[in-house]
């Protein structure tokens, strides 16, 4: 069977790929486009390690079919920094030591960015609830929450 041709925009750049109907967006990102920043922790939407945004909406790339993203705009961890300039969230994660093994970090950063776009001034419990779909097994979440809160404050200050 012939493959499906998909035209899309990834991290503001035009992208095209061929996929099979059963391929997920995560399969294509990682294996076809070699954007391996999104990680597969479960393949069932339970861990959030493959978080990306699809037309601005936070999703698990493992729960989206590649064929579905025709004409869509996808943003991944690879597009988060602006060249050499890290996003404030990325800087704050480093400053607050909000990562240990780092496997959940790309997904948590993408999810946090989506949160701060929607809610620039979240409470700590709003951050915790928003990130409940992003499992982290190393940190106990504490330093992650601190980093997101601090980034939010700094981003508000810039506006």
């Amino acid at each position: 069977m012939s493959k499906i041709h998909v035209t899309t925009t990834i991290n503001n750049d035009p992208a095209e790929f061929l996929c099979e109907a059963e391929d997920t967006l995560l399969d294509v990102l990682r294996d076809t486009l070699r954007l391996s920043g999104a990680k597969e922790g479960c393949g069932s939407g339970d861990c959030g390690a493959c978080s990306v945004t699809l037309d601005g909406r936070l999703v698990c790339a493992c729960l989206v079919l590649a064929a579905e993203v025709e004409g869509a705009k996808i943003d991944t961890i690879e597009g988060m920094s602006d060249g050499e300039n890290l996003h404030i969230l990325q800087k704050k994660f480093l400053e607050h030591a909000a990562l240990q093994c780092g496997i959940c970090t790309p997904g948590i950063l993408v999810a946090s960015k989506a949160l701060l776009k929607k809610n620039p001034d979240p409470t700590e419990s709003e951050v915790r609830l928003w990130l409940a779909g992003n499992l982290c097994r190393c940190t106990g979440y504490d330093k992650i929450i601190n980093a997101v809160m601090d980034a939010a404050a700094e981003m508000r200050g810039l506006e």
Binding site: G102, I103, L131, A132, R137, T139, K143
Partner: protein, 748 residues
């Protein structure tokens, strides 16, 4: 090692909160983990796994799979030459079933194909004829004399004759006259505790990429806590010399002990050998739960005697651990650590291991200790309640300290238990008010900490910067700590040093990243390697200045004349010496290889407040504080991170995490939906208090910190539960149905 390594000093770099060297890669998605590797011509490997908990494999027909277009190799246990009894033998049998499938999810065959889709299709074409046998998954069932026998040949001679053949190990420790101790007690309480098997729950599934050449050379890329151990096991299994197998550890997406062994690597190597192409295997999450190495489940009886003023007169514990179809060592680690926090005249612990039809357990952070100490700390707490004594004061009264003969034999040197207890007592958390349905729990925790075989190489680059090469995967920020110790010893800024974790063929042997050993042992070797480089730099200066080698000393990054008699020379910086090194004899380096001892035990104390919904049994953790002795916190952020992460895992273990097996012997919750690790909104802020009681066995006083923090949460949460609901529970996890049942039972 000498016991007086530690020397007091003012640190310049150690103790700072510097940025980690792998940070940028990890926040930009560039870090390469197990599943991120690619090789040209790579095939996809997939396993066929047994749906039965216990079954004889009568035949395997792989012909249809082999005939499928795109399939390049099929492997079964028959492709591996039999091994002598021992570690590698058991590991291989756990990776792929030889005669019997021993647990639900046990691999029986594997294929390598040109795509995942073809590999999946091929796996379905393999026909296995099973003869299903009765199975056993629970400890007490496995110990019954009429229980199905999981595997013969593991029973050791010390096991009492009247015990089932599923018992594989039996250890007894202790000292003093326990019975006389109980006689002296005003109160004796004996209780039985159960803990469910849990999983380390690392977010990165096991993954590897194997490449075997027709010349017998192999390369293996995998996520592991120990590339050298992977090499040793795989070389034995593949019957190849270690020198011909290079193992490179990827970035590791969490391990916690679960990546100290192998599950897929030999299969990938064999598939690669048979197909002549590189093969990548990535486990699914379901495979991780079913067929990696969860921790043991346990049943423990604890009996303690106490005088009415709170002195413990004797302690007795009988611990049974099941760790799947193979023997494991948690029984003695648990039995030795059960009463480690106490200074006891009389103590006796017995640990036994039981085989069941479950996957071969792997280590999980302080293996064996959390369950043992949960049982002991629960009984101590109950006795305090019964006698109307303050639980913290009773711990202080009985605390092990320097000079205490430990429950496992040796006498303690400087240890931090009393200091952590005092810190907890002084902390506002200990006297914060509690509301209705709330409770506060306290528990001590302990871990031995290990040293072990370690190699470090440190190179002084011509431009005055420094490269450190080490061989232990960085699981929680160790590259930062190691760079910091190198910078400290050399007297140069942290950003002049870069530490990398190397492959097996670029550095001497390093033991697995286990036992909280890396910051201690690799740090120690790094300091010694730096000292070797310093000696050489001083020698080069002596040549330049034409004075005696002994007349040059090193201070704050400079070589200097030892004193006025040595001569009047301008001190030379490391950078200056490095720049001249081609002229003075060539590149300068230091290295150090050691089997490090003197790790120094670690104690912690946790305080936990919870609130229970009395109508539903739902538990909310309100407040949590961790107190722990780090010896010297090299990078305080990552010490806190270990303390918080361990606490979070322990809270999960206490409240909701468990392996649930059905009557059919199959795992019912092989996914993150029903294996419930704590999510961000489940936890409060986890406060940390680091204490620094220097370890005499390390130049900077460092102790391992990674494992102790998972030990206290089980009892801390359980003790808080007893206060919150007014009745004590004796089984983990304390999931809502059990909590509600306990509340209703207490109400009558």
């Amino acid at each position: 090692m000498s016991l007086d390594e530690f020397q007091k000093r003012d640190f310049k770099v150690v103790g700072q909160r510097v940025e980690r060297p792998d940070g940028i890669d990890k926040v930009t998605g560039r870090a390469m983990y197990g599943a991120d590797a690619y090789a040209t011509g790579m095939l996809v490997g997939k396993m066929l796994r047994s749906p039965h908990a216990h079954a004889i494999i009568k035949s395997i027909d792989t012909s249809a799979a082999e005939a499928l277009a795109g399939v390049k190799a099929v492997v079964t246990a028959a492709d591996f030459a039999p091994l002598e009894a021992g570690d590698a033998h058991n590991v291989l049998d756990a990776c792929i079933a030889r005669k019997k499938a021993l647990y639900d999810g046990h691999a029986v065959a594997a294929v390598a194909a040109t795509s995942e889709k073809i590999a999946k299709a091929a796996v379905k074409l393999i026909e296995v004829e099973y003869e299903i046998l009765p199975h056993v998954t629970e400890i007490e069932d496995a110990l019954k004399l009429d229980a199905p026998i999981v595997q013969e040949g593991f029973r050791n001679k010390k096991i009492p004759a009247d015990m089932s053949d599923n018992a594989s190990n039996y250890y007894q420790f202790g000292h003093g006259d326990v019975d006389a101790g109980f006689e002296r007690a005003d109160l004796v309480i004996e209780r039985k505790f159960r803990t469910a098997a849990t999983h380390q729950g690392y977010i990165e599934p096991h993954a590897c990429l194997a490449s075997m050449g027709p010349d017998g050379k192999g390369d293996l890329w995998c996520c592991t806590q120990g590339q050298y151990y992977v090499r040793a096991l795989c070389a034995q299994i593949m019957a190849m010399p270690e020198s011909q197998l290079r193992v490179t550890a990827s970035e590791i997406g969490g391990g916690f002990g679960g990546k100290t062994t192998i599950f897929i690597e030999p299969i990938a190597l064999k598939l690669s050998q048979k197909s002549g192409r590189p093969v990548k295997i990535v486990m699914s999450r379901e495979e991780v739960f079913k067929a990696s190495g969860p921790t043991v489940s346990s049943v423990t009886d604890v009996k303690i005697g106490m005088t009415k003023d709170g002195r413990i007169t004797a302690g007795d514990a009988y611990l049974r651990y099941q760790g799947g179809a193979f023997p494991n060592i948690t029984c003695y680690l648990g039995a030795q650590s059960a009463f480690a926090a106490y200074d006891l005249e009389a103590v006796r612990t017995v640990g036994i291991n039981v085989l069941t039809n479950r996957p071969k357990q792997a280590a999980y952070r302080a293996p064996g200790a959390p369950m043992a100490i949960y049982a002991v700390e629960s009984v101590v707490d109950e006795m305090c309640q019964e006698l109307g004594l303050d639980p913290l004061e009773v711990r202080l009264l009985n605390a092990a300290k320097k000079g205490t003969k430990s429950s496992y034999g040796p006498t303690f040197d400087d240890i931090g238990l009393v200091a952590t207890l005092e810190a907890a007592k002084a902390h506002p958390h200990y006297c914060a008010p509690l509301g209705p349905n709330q409770g506060r729990g306290l528990s001590c925790g302990f871990w031995f900490n290990f040293g072990g075989n370690t190699s470090v190489s440190l190179n002084i680059n011509f431009d005055g910067t420094v490269g450190v090469t080490e061989g232990n995967p960085d699981i929680g920020g160790s590259r930062a700590s190691i760079s910091m110790m190198a910078a400290e010893e050399l007297g140069i800024p942290y950003d002049k040093v870069r530490t990398i974790v190397t492959d097996t063929n670029s550095l001497g042997h390093n033991d697995v990243t286990d036992g909280s050993r890396v910051t201690f042992a690799v740090g120690l070797a790094t300091i010694k390697a730096a000292r070797a480089a310093i000696r050489e730099m001083c020698n080069r200066c002596a040549k330049l200045w034409d004075i005696d080698e002994d007349a040059v000393v090193w201070k704050d990054g400079f070589a200097k004349p030892a004193g006025p008699n040595a001569g009047d020379y301008e001190p030379m910086s490391l950078a200056e010496i490095a720049a001249k090194s081609p002229n003075t004899g060539g590149p300068i380096a230091g290295h150090f290889e050691v089997n490090a001892d003197g790790a120094g035990v670690s104690f912690g104390v946790h305080l936990c407040d919870i609130e229970v919904d009395p109508e539903t049994g739902f538990t909310k953790v309100l407040r949590y504080t961790v107190f722990q002795d780090a010896g010297k916190a090299v990078h305080p952020d990552y010490v806190e991170g270990q303390m918080q992460g361990g606490a979070a895992q322990g809270i999960g273990w206490a409240l909701n995490e468990e392996y649930i097996y059905g009557a059919d012997g199959r795992l019912q919750n092989a996914g993150f939906l029903d294996y419930r690790v704590p999510v961000a909104s489940d936890l409060p802020k986890i406060d940390t208090v680091i204490l620094e009681i220097p370890n005499p066995g390390h130049p900077y006083g460092v102790r391992g910190v990674g494992e102790t923090p998972i030990v206290p949460p089980l009892a801390a949460v359980s003790n808080a539960m007893a206060q919150a609901i007014g009745t004590r529970m004796f089984e983990l996890p304390m999931s809502p149905p059990k909590v509600l049942k306990a509340i209703k039972a207490a109400r009558g």
